[in-house]
């Protein structure tokens, strides 16, 4: 792969805190290597801002290997930027060329208020999990791991749903700010396993109720969530969620 350097114009959302209005500001960065990650490019910019006596741009990030789900930038109108199945931290600058203008915003959703600049509050997701995204088993209660054989296809499908990193890109991508892909991934992960069976109905009802309470919008099946999900969680899990919800509603006491 050929390496190259580039100069870029960045249009970045700046907002002091949740109570003040934000605005876009322009920054120019020079001699950015194509081998850098997108966040390393922000590191370079922030170092310069600090040296110039400005405030660096706040953004969430931690593992920088695409798994913790902390990074959350909206890049050129797409959560996590242009690459398919990718997080912002794994986006590398070879995705861009010299002279490009890049627009960077925080996730936009009423349920994810901005804390500062590009940092948003995603605790709504934790509260949805609290509503039932678990299997109620206290430590020490378990039987032998192999006592319960699980069909490999089902186990694999459960795993594919469990890969969700809870980043919120699905919400950010959705015109309705729906959290259905996130929710469906958790409901499917647990509903596909025999361990999840006892709480199957109560789980889905309670988690959906919490999702609505948090102010996420409705799903209108546009598929933007699936297209943007860094773990490529399939929209078919939303169908699964609807099925689970319907069954649970019909059989509820």
């Amino acid at each position: 792969m050929e390496h190259y350097n580039m100069n870029l114009n960045l249009k970045v959302w700046r907002q002091k805190n949740s109570k003040t209005r934000g605005e876009f500001k322009m920054y120019r960065v020079e001699n950015i290597s194509s081998e850098m990650s997108f966040l390393e490019m922000f590191d370079v910019l922030n170092e310069r801002l600090i040296a110039e006596g400005d405030e660096p741009i706040a953004f969430d990030h931690d593992c920088r290997e695409g798994i913790c789900g902390m990074c959350s930038m909206y890049i050129n109108g797409k959560p996590h930027g242009p690459w398919q199945g990718n997080t912002t931290c794994q986006l590398h600058m070879r995705a861009f060329k010299d002279g490009d203008t890049i627009v960077v915003e925080p996730w936009r959703s009423n349920a994810f208020p901005v804390i500062k600049d590009l940092v948003v509050d995603r605790t709504a997701f934790d509260r949805i999990i609290q509503a039932g995204g678990y299997i109620s088993v206290n430590t020490g209660n378990a039987v032998d791991g192999n006592a319960l054989p699980i069909n490999k296809d089902k186990a694999d499908a459960s795993f594919a749903a469990a890969m969700c990193i809870g980043c919120g890109a699905c919400v950010a991508a959705c015109k309705n700010s729906s959290a259905m892909l996130f929710l469906s991934a958790k409901v499917s992960h647990l509903a596909l396993l025999p361990q999840g069976e006892p709480e199957r109905n109560s789980r889905v009802l309670s988690m959906v109720a919490q999702m609505d309470k948090e102010g996420f919008g409705s799903c209108t099946n546009t598929g933007a969530c699936e297209a943007t999900c860094p773990k490529e969680i399939s929209i078919s899990y939303i169908a699964k969620l609807n099925q689970e919800y319907l069954c649970a509603s019909l059989t509820a006491e």
Binding site: D43, P56, D62, D126, N151, K152, I165, Q195
Partner: protein
């Protein structure tokens, strides 16, 4: 001072006897006892959830925006357990033995044996929680092998085992939050431990959004705050991983043990330039099928695929025929460094070796052909390779994708380039058998403590230890302490100990903010990292370590005179958070060098150039260094050494041999 509290009796029955005789707390009293858990990785989340289930009042803290983000999530390869599902001769004893040997005989026998004993329960617990481990077609759990062992005891969920285990623990934790047993504090950082008469009674935490300091009382404090690999700046740790909580505990009286024991992981993506902010690991599981090599000729600039088989040096297979590519991490790392230092490195930096999947792809492809009843001879090589790639994709697909995203190269076609990087720290706060530090009422779990991995950790054992400590050890051992705490009244956070601790934290933050110098926090961190990597990294010697100590002292002085922290105290200010952490790394780094200087032997990840065999293998000195070095803080640049002798009753330490 160092009372390890290892129970008497046979090794095999110590833990059972302990559990049968430790004190219990009745359910009504548990409701009155408060426990603070700092950190929500595998150790912290599992401990907080389990203690909540038991009925204690728990407060859990993490600096990330959600407990699910803790860096345990990034562990890829797997978790060990002595299940012997593969019928290949595994047992509790073998897991215990491999771990002690892998740690180069610098771990406590009793702790490691307990770890091996509870390992099987961990798998059961995680399965019950719905952790989607990899399974065979019969529906049963699948295993793979890892470095330093000859059995298949590693359970996994593709290359995301840490993520799946952490999500399991996180969900258990959130369930306790929902039940009101645990109160969760996201985006909070512990900045001081509060003690009264040498006993931990709480912490001072900072709300990272508002910048406000808070006082929290606890009958016990659990530090589950991970390792300190970021002292090297470049490591496989998350950007936020830090030593601050453990360091505050250390300065409040907790001894810090074996700080120089650092694990350098052999298979990481090499550094690409000065902009590099972190290093990415490629799971050790890749060494199951991948073959590591360098060209036989120095400075060979041909593309890897143009170098014929006869001109490749599969140096691990050559040097260690018995374990081959699956030697333990410390051995594999040093072997890579040796080849690169000798001029055989590859890539533009020449600081890399190849990890090649070509022969694995071919081997798997051939197996796939024969699965369909055909003869290998009847299949075209293109078909074999296509089928082989599919198998490799199923096993390691996410890792290969990650490699491609970072490097822009396709590892199915071109061998990966890898180089060792700082990954894990075996050292940490000294704890006794009950996981209590030398401060009463303060415990330390998971990577943050020193206890189970000696001088080198085997792959897939970090997840095991974190969950063992949280799910199965602390719930018993903490009761032994809290049973007496029921007689202590809760201490008001208006107590002068809390007031003074909060004032100290506030003063320190104001001092940092008021320096208003010219150099960014990041610059200091990078400079510290370079000193540590060059002089206290994969190979260490007396002269280098002495120089490093002086350089770190100078750098620390410069930091406190010239650091520039933008923004304000009372707001969301990541630069300020980072400054506090780097300030602590600047103290820890010195202690690591001091510890490395003292230990004039090579063992595990600690390689002193002065102490090696003729073949360049690490040479231990059991006569002089068969002890845990536990350091007591006595003031700036001033530590007192305490030694805990290691006694091996069951295992006879020998020169480690993987040949």
């Amino acid at each position: 001072m160092l009372e390890s509290k290892i129970p008497a009796g046979n090794l095999e029955s110590k833990w059972t006897d302990y559990k049968g005789h430790c004190k219990l707390v009745n359910p009504a009293n548990k409701r009155k006892l408060e426990v603070i858990v700092v950190g929500t990785g595998l150790a912290g989340a599992s401990a907080a959830a389990t203690l909540g289930e038991l009925g204690y009042k728990v407060k859990a803290f993490c600096f990330q925006d959600s407990p699910r983000r803790a860096h345990s999530i990034a562990a890829q390869g797997g978790i060990n357990a002595a299940k012997n599902y593969q019928n290949d001769g595994d047992s509790v004893f073998r897991l215990f033995y491999d771990t002690v040997k892998g740690g180069d005989y610098r771990a406590r026998e009793a702790n490691v044996h307990r770890l091996a004993e509870v390992s099987a329960n961990i798998i059961d617990q995680c399965v019950a929680q719905g952790v989607p481990f990899a399974r065979e077609y019969g529906g049963l759990l699948s295993n793979r092998s890892f470095g330093g062992t000859q059995v298949q005891r590693t359970f996994y969920a593709a290359g995301q085992t840490g993520q799946q285990l952490l999500i399991g623990a996180y969900q258990a934790l959130e369930r306790q939050v929902a039940l009101g047993n645990v109160k969760m504090y996201n985006r909070h950082e512990m900045l001081e431990v509060v003690t009264i008469d040498g006993k931990a009674v709480g912490i001072i935490a900072r709300d990272l959004i508002s910048g406000k300091l808070q006082r929290h009382f606890g009958n016990a404090v659990l530090l589950c705050t991970g390792g300190y690999g970021n002292v090297f700046y470049l490591s496989t740790n998350a950007m936020g991983s830090n030593v601050t909580a453990a360091w505050k505990a250390h300065k409040a009286g907790a001894l810090f043990a074996n700080p120089c024991f650092t694990q350098i992981h052999p298979t990481c993506i090499p550094v690409s330039g000065d902009h590099q902010s972190k290093l990415t690991l490629m799971s050790e599981s890749l060494r199951n099928d991948g073959r590591i090599w360098v060209p036989k000729n120095q400075g060979d600039n041909r593309k890897p695929n143009e170098i014929p088989e006869s001109e490749r040096d599969y140096y691990l297979e050559r040097r260690y025929p018995a374990f081959g590519n699956l030697v333990p991490r410390d051995v594999a790392s040093r072997a890579a460094k040796e080849r690169c230092d000798a001029g055989f490195g590859v890539g533009t930096s020449k600081q890399a070796v190849y990890l090649d999947y070509a022969s694995a792809i071919e081997r798997y492809g051939k197996i796939e052909i024969t699965k369909h009843g055909r003869e290998v001879e009847d299949a075209s090589s293109a078909e074999i390779i296509t089928l082989g790639k599919q198998v490799v994709k199923e096993k390691y697909g996410n890792l290969f994708d990650m490699y491609e995203k970072i490097t822009g190269e396709n590892p199915y076609e071109v061998p990966m380039r890898i180089y060792p990087a700082v990954h894990y720290t075996m050292g940490g706060l000294w704890v006794d058998y009950e996981l209590m530090t030398s401060v009463k009422g303060m415990y330390c779990l998971g990577e943050a403590n020193f206890s189970d991995h000696g001088a080198n950790r085997l792959g897939a054992s970090a997840l095991m230890q974190g969950l063992a400590d949280g799910y199965f050890v602390i719930p018993y051992t903490i009761g032994n302490y809290l049973a007496d705490e029921i007689y202590s009244k809760p201490i008001s956070t208006d107590h002068e100990a809390f007031v003074n601790a909060e004032k100290e934290v506030g003063d320190r933050i104001r001092t940092l903010m008021n320096i208003k110098g010219n150099t960014s926090v990041e610059t200091f961190h990078k400079r510290l990292g370079k000193i540590m990597w060059d002089k206290c990294g994969m190979a260490r010697n007396e002269k280098g370590l002495q120089e490093a100590i002086v350089e770190i002292q100078q750098l620390r002085k410069e930091f406190w005179n010239d650091v520039r922290i933008p923004g304000d105290i009372d707001e969301f200010n990541p630069e300020l958070d980072k400054a506090g952490r780097v300030a602590d790394f600047l103290e820890l780094g010195e202690l690591m060098c001091k510890d490395a200087l003292l230990r004039k032997e090579s063992c595990g990840g600690h390689f002193r150039e002065e102490s090696q065999t003729e073949e360049g293998e690490a040479l231990r000195n059991d006569a002089e260094f068969m002890y845990v070095a536990a350091w007591e803080f006595e003031g700036e640049s001033n530590w007192k050494l305490h030694k805990e002798a290691l006694e091996y009753e069951v295992i006879k330490p020998t020169q480690r041999n993987y040949k």
